[in-house]
């Protein structure tokens, strides 16, 4: 069991800056997800924790010990790869036992540990098979078994579920969470899938463009995103963002954005000066179809409807812009009878609104 601490690490690949001055601390036994779009530097960060990449500058400590110059095999870590990376010519038994064999663990002890790891992952029946004789989910379990058998202090996962189909991914998510509870080890998990991050993590580290944008519990980063990137990245679909301007009159603030204009109540007056360019944000599930109290009323045209069974998503067009269409997403009840082309009245509750400043940082709620 171990903590993982990263201080000011930077990684350059030639001219490219992959990770830019990132620092964080992971508690012992914590399940942390590094979340971000592809190319954000999350895998490079993980590889540096693993020792597969050397940081250009900065410190990495595992269990309080500095490890920048310690090779991967001496860091007491295990890693599960995106490609699963089972040794194709070895049986399941040999795959799981490989780290023990390399560590010259006696045969009898190895057999016992492989069997118990396999049983934990419910692949005890498959030990004689070769990887190509297994299904995707079984292969994933073997890869997990190969990590579990070493009893490492830190588990590293590099998008391990991305090669699985959607249904299996949901099942494996639960299993990974249970595995973490049972082992109590530190998990560092890299993914671009926000659902994986939200469902499994104790804390989520959101990354983009090589930098760390926000650290927080899944609930925190969803409800209080620090900036527009986090707000737009989290949620499916992400937060609606409407660029506009705050205008002030004697009787309060007035928001004027592309295709919409409404008054804002007094609680907004402290956050921005009139005349500032701002971006208004609201989550699709917060928008109310029809009229309502305590909210701004806006009217838009339905561009398309997307029924997904449990919900009905409306794509609303407030204004047609030259640089392409910005669709405003609304989650509505599936029973709602509307059609594309119709005009619809929407209510944006004031307590569900977000405001971001010109640099993209959240200014409301403060």
């Amino acid at each position: 069991m171990a903590t993982v601490t990263i201080e000011n690490i930077t990684k350059n690949f030639g001219e490219t800056l992959a990770v830019d001055d990132v620092s964080f601390h992971i508690e012992d036994g914590e399940f942390v997800v590094l979340l971000g779009p592809s190319g954000c530097g999350k895998t490079t960060t993980l590889n540096m924790i693993a020792g597969l990449e050397k940081p250009s500058s900065g410190n990495i400590s595992i269990g309080g010990k500095r490890v920048e110059n310690v090779p991967p095999d001496k860091r007491n870590i295990a890693m599960v790869f995106q490609s699963i990376a089972l040794y194709p010519h070895m049986s399941v038994y040999q795959n799981i036992g490989f780290p023990l064999r390399m560590a010259r663990v006696p045969k009898a002890e190895m057999a016992e540990r492989v069997q118990s790891a396999a049983n934990l992952l419910r692949i005890g029946e498959l030990l004689q098979r070769k990887p190509h004789e297994l299904s995707g989910g079984q292969r994933q379990r073997v890869a997990l078994g190969r990590s579990v058998v070493r009893d490492p202090a830190v588990f590293l996962f590099d998008e391990p579920l991305s090669s699985l189909d959607a249904k299996l991914r949901v099942e494996m998510r639960v299993e990974l969470k249970k595995l973490h509870e049972r082992l109590g080890a530190t998990f560092v998990y890299v993914t671009h899938d926000q659902v994986e991050a939200m469902t499994m993590a104790d804390r989520v580290f959101v990354m983009d463009l090589g930098g760390l944008l926000q650290i927080g519990s899944p609930d925190d980063i969803y409800r209080l995103p620090t900036n527009m990137m986090v707000a737009g990245f989290l949620g499916n679909p992400g937060m609606n963002l409407v660029a506009g301007r705050l205008n002030g009159g004697g009787d309060g603030l007035h928001f004027e954005g592309s295709g919409m204009a409404f008054d804002l109540p007094s609680q907004f007056s402290s956050v921005a000066t009139p005349g500032d360019p701002v971006t208004l944000g609201i989550r699709p599930e917060s928008v109310v179809v029809g009229d309502g109290p305590n909210g701004a009323s806006v009217t838009g045209n339905i561009f398309a409807t997307e029924p997904v069974g449990s919900d009905l998503y409306l794509d609303i067009l407030f204004v047609e812009e030259n640089d392409g269409m910005r669709l405003f997403k609304v989650r509505a009840r599936p029973e709602l009878k509307v059609q594309a082309g119709e005009q619809v009245l929407l209510n944006l509750p004031y307590d569900k609104l977000y405001l971001f400043d010109n640099a993209g940082y959240r200014i409301y709620p403060g």
Partner: protein, 312 residues
């Protein structure tokens, strides 16, 4: 129902395919099958060029080839030549491939340059090595004699070592071909496997043995077969370097066949010896194949025991 697209010439796809296959087949019959059968016919006949006669003698000439000391010696020399060449080319080509698979500056240029020894003609290779091994002013003696490693005027292509040095020259010539087979195979190995192995505490040698080698075993098989067959049918380089000498110490089977054919006009003998050459090469190729594709025991267990299906 399958609809075939009409070609501009009015042929359907299968007709077009058939036309091409028949064309190639006819070509093969003329340049391969006919000479092969003629050669087989020759191996069954005692011919006399002056009398322009040919008498059917059955497999007598095959027997002569098999039991004559001259051909037995030549066959053994061919086996020795092939064995040394296989070992050297395999080691050199795999070594070069492993180096060229690493990332370093100007790798592309080096990858192209490394092919050169294979691209130059065997006669040029022979000339170059003859010059290098020349006793009085050659490169080897020029460098090694002053260091006291060999005597001045050391004859490299002597009775005991000439065949060995021929194998070395031949391996130098053939290794780049193997390098390219290996390089192609090495590039198919997922990088994650090496990363996984590193984290699993596997050292450099273990990574080579457990990750690299299993992935390139079919490339090894191909290189083994190619080098063996090439070594058995090798003529140009040996003929240009030593012509079978000193004496007959480097007279491998193809050189003997050449002498039977063009010096002694014993076409039947040359043909039967050629067939024996082909048979030896084929046996070796099949043996490699059987050895390399033998199933591992663990797999056989799996095949025989019915495993319960896992619920996913």
């Amino acid at each position: 129902m399958i609809a075939f697209r009409r070609k501009s010439g009015g042929l359907t796809d299968p007709q077009f395919a058939l036309a091409i296959v028949i064309g190639v087949l006819l070509f093969h019959v003329v340049i391969i099958i006919v000479p092969l059968f003629y050669s087989f016919w020759l191996s069954l006949h005692e011919t006399n060029v002056i009398l322009r006669s040919s008498d059917y003698v059955g497999f007598d000439l095959w027997g002569e080839v098999l039991f004559e000391e001259e051909t037995q010696t030549a066959t053994l020399k061919s086996l020795y030549f092939a064995a040394i060449s296989v070992v050297f080319s395999l080691v050199i080509s795999l070594g070069m491939a492993l180096v060229l698979n690493q990332e370093f500056p100007f790798r592309g240029v080096l990858r192209a340059l490394i092919l050169l020894p294979w691209a130059v003609s065997e006669v040029v290779t022979a000339t170059m090595w003859t010059v290098m091994l020349e006793p009085s002013w050659g490169f080897f003696n020029g460098v090694l004699a002053p260091l006291g490693i060999v005597d001045e005027g050391n004859v490299w292509l002597n009775r005991d070592w000439a065949l060995f040095w021929l194998s070395v020259a031949f391996s130098w010539h053939l290794a780049p071909l193997g390098t390219f087979f290996f390089l192609a195979a090495l590039q198919t190995i997922p990088k994650d496997l090496y990363n996984a192995a590193r984290i699993d505490r596997a050292g450099v040698i273990s990574r080579f043995y457990y990750v690299t080698l299993p992935h390139i075993r079919y490339a090894v098989l191909i290189v083994l077969v190619v080098v063996t067959v090439e070594a058995f049918r090798q003529f140009d380089l040996v003929f240009a370097m030593t012509s079978g000498g000193p004496g007959t110490t480097t007279q491998i089977l193809p050189l003997l066949i050449f002498r039977y054919n063009f010096q002694f006009s014993q076409y039947g003998l040359a043909s039967s010896a050629s067939f024996i050459l082909i048979i030896i090469a084929t046996i070796l190729a099949v043996a490699y194949f059987v050895l390399m594709t033998k199933r591992s025991p663990s797999k056989r267990i799996v095949k025989s025991v019915k495993m319960p299906e896992m619920a996913e």
